[in-house]
């Protein structure tokens, strides 16, 4: 019987909005907004995780080079978006990032480091640009940016952690499944872009 109560408690914990009686403001609000911004779009989330996953597939030095380079290039794209500088095909680029990275993870494809860096850098530019265009007005710039970059980095870390499963006996199959799911999200996003 005890496990049923535990299950009920766990289910109740999935209703956090009940506790959100007050809207966070000021610095706390900016941190919350920054943390949540990268995880509010499924296409962004899967692409960030895929970067970490593919880094793990590529191994050293890509496993650490990609997470070092990605935030900086993404922030550069964010500045372009904030300043309304033109960048064509942003939504298509984001959808393609999930599709291409998903396929690369699924096939566990190893490309030369320079090619991998350029590909991920290009995708980072699109993601950063989209985030930059959508950034909320009135947020505390630095706290928001810190939380935003931290959340993105943690998504990479999730991908790297998942990618490390390749060392296990069933790890390769897991990577294939996760890569396929990411690619499907990419196809769905592409269809959304095409339908819009």
């Amino acid at each position: 019987m005890r496990w049923r109560w535990l299950l009920l408690a766990l289910l109740l914990s999935l209703l956090p909005s009940a506790a959100l009686a007050h809207v966070p403001e000021g610095g706390a609000g900016s941190v919350m907004a920054g943390l949540l911004h990268p995880v509010t779009g499924i296409d962004h989330v899967v692409a960030m995780v895929a970067v970490g996953l593919w880094g793990a597939v590529l191994g050293a030095p890509a496993i650490w080079l990609l997470p070092v380079a990605f935030p900086m290039v993404m922030a550069f794209g964010g500045v372009m978006g904030l300043l309304d500088l033109p960048l064509p095909g942003v939504e298509t680029g984001i959808a393609l990032s999930a599709l291409v990275l998903g396929v690369l993870v699924m096939l566990q494809q190893r490309l030369p480091l320079a090619v991998a860096g350029m590909l991920v850098g290009l995708f980072a530019l699109f993601h950063g640009y989209a985030h930059g265009v959508e950034l909320p007005e009135g947020a505390d710039a630095l706290l928001f940016s810190l939380a935003f970059v931290g959340a993105t980095g943690l998504l990479h870390l999730v991908g790297i952690g998942l990618g490390e499963a390749r060392r296990l006996a069933w790890g390769h199959r897991l990577l294939q499944v996760v890569g396929a799911v990411i690619a499907v999200v990419g196809v769905w996003s592409l269809a959304q872009v095409g339908g819009a």
Partner: protein, 182 residues
């Protein structure tokens, strides 16, 4: 960046603790000290020693000059450019000459000290305990982080340091964009 962040925090424990809290509650100051400590640590023990000597001293000089001028300025754009550049240097893990490191550390300390000094009122008691608190916190944080970075040779730790630098740089870049837009 709101002007509020530039003013001294009131902890209720007196000027010394207000000064310490000021550093830890001002993200730009904290990121600069963190970035400089990582950068100095990457240069080895010599970098750490140089940081410990120059940063608190230049911060204190800047504070003293700023308090004398007493302007209500945060120079947000300039300070953001500065800590962003430091983050980029850490992410690139560049070996710097002693002169370049000394110039970077002293220049940063003077600027951030000056900004602190603009908005921190001189203590009515005449004892600059808040100044002492800020400078002590800067020195302590610098020595703890730079020593750890200089002493640790593991590859994964060096990668973590570079990732931290890239996060500082990325947050600074996005912050710059938001400041320019505003």
């Amino acid at each position: 960046m709101p002007l509020l962040f530039a003013h001294l925090m009131q902890t209720g424990f007196g000027g010394f603790y207000d000064g310490i809290a000021h550093l830890f509650l001002t993200p730009s100051d904290l990121l600069l000290v963190l970035g400089l400590a990582l950068l100095a640590g990457q240069q080895g023990p010599q970098g750490g020693r140089l940081l410990l000597t120059l940063l608190p001293l230049s911060w204190w000089i800047g504070l003293a000059v700023g308090q004398r001028w007493g302007l209500d300025l945060t120079l947000a754009l300039l300070s953001t450019v500065l800590f962003t550049s430091v983050g980029v240097l850490v992410a690139l893990s560049l070996r710097l000459s002693v002169q370049v490191l000394a110039f970077t550390v002293a220049g940063s300390g003077l600027l951030f000290g000056l900004i602190n000094g603009f908005t921190m009122p001189s203590a009515s008691s005449g004892l600059p305990l808040d100044v002492l608190g800020v400078v002590s916190a800067v020195a302590l944080l610098s020595v703890l982080i730079s020593a750890q970075v200089a002493a640790t040779r593991s590859t994964s730790f060096c990668i973590a340091v570079r990732v931290a630098g890239s996060w500082i740089a990325a947050a600074g870049l996005m912050s710059l964009g938001l400041l320019l837009k505003a």
